[in-house]
Symmetry: C2
Subunit: 140 residues, 2 copies
DNA sequence: TTTGTAATTGCAAAACCTTGCAATAAGCCG
DNA sequence: CGGCTTATTGCAAGGTTTTGCAATTACAAA
């Protein structure tokens, strides 16, 4: 498991510049509970660096996503939430009826990943998914 | 397998009103190749009924989605594409490197669906998914 | 430490989708 | 057919995210 600072290290390794905007965006993600929205990140960044633009936050998030350092997940809230890959791998079951969410271990998706690789030669990026449906309490 | 007209039938059965806006939106979906965007639907509707508003198209799509008559799938294009459920069930593997997409049979997701139901009592709505990753040609 | 260069940012605008509200019209009933 | 009720629509505004472009700045190299 990675720890705080890993994202910064990987950015420098790959030759990306360490701007204050990027550092603060990364800090917000790493210090979050692991499911933070762009707006929430932006609020934290602005509180210490008022003239930062939210589009810079979005561009940093896009970069981190491309580099495989964060995942973005749509929980059906009308906005996406970000998760540092280093903070552990899991998925979510989201009930569309009552809104309840249950964590799902990474291994639940492993068989599917293996089948896609074996039968289609396709390396699926199945990280931090939100799977929608109906939970037991809400019936079939 | 359903055929054209099924969506309209189900709407009336459930007591929804058959407005011209809805009928034209439904026709556009049913006559499409099965992966049509809201903007494309809207263009078709407007060509015959110029004063229709795109928010009405979106509301109809949301309704059809709730009723399980269409699926909406994000292929990573910045907009969602709609598919009439009656036109057959399948998924897509989308290569994030070269953009190639491969169809995947519905059955590939059945084991996962079964596990979620058995072990979590969760009835997952795994219809017409886009699974992102890297295809064989683009390497692991 | 200064300079040069190209990556990065801020800003403004736009794309996609949703929502509140008053006006409209579908379908029921007489 | 005509009126009634309430679902549905159009409009305008707003939320989330992306993008083009000129200005800025991180970092490498002198």
């Amino acid at each position: 498991m990675n720890h705080s600072g890993d994202i910064v290290k990987k950015l420098t390794e790959r030759g990306y510049r360490l701007t204050p905007q990027r550092l603060m965006t990364i800090a917000a993600i790493e210090h979050s509970d692991g499911h933070i929205s762009a707006e929430e990140i932006y609020a934290q960044v602005v509180s210490k660096y008022p003239h930062v633009n939210i589009s810079t936050v979005y561009r940093t998030l896009e970069l981190l996503k491309q580099l495989g350092l964060v995942t973005d997940t749509d929980f059906g809230e009308g906005r996406v939430r970000y998760h540092p890959v280093g903070k552990g791998h899991h998925h979510h079951l989201v009930c569309q009826e009552c809104g309840a969410t249950v964590d799902l271990d990474e291994t639940a998706l492993t068989p599917l990943k293996d089948v896609l690789l074996r039968e289609y030669g396709f390396s699926a990026d199945l990280r931090h998914l939100a799977i929608f449906g109906r939970c037991g309490k809400c019936g079939s």
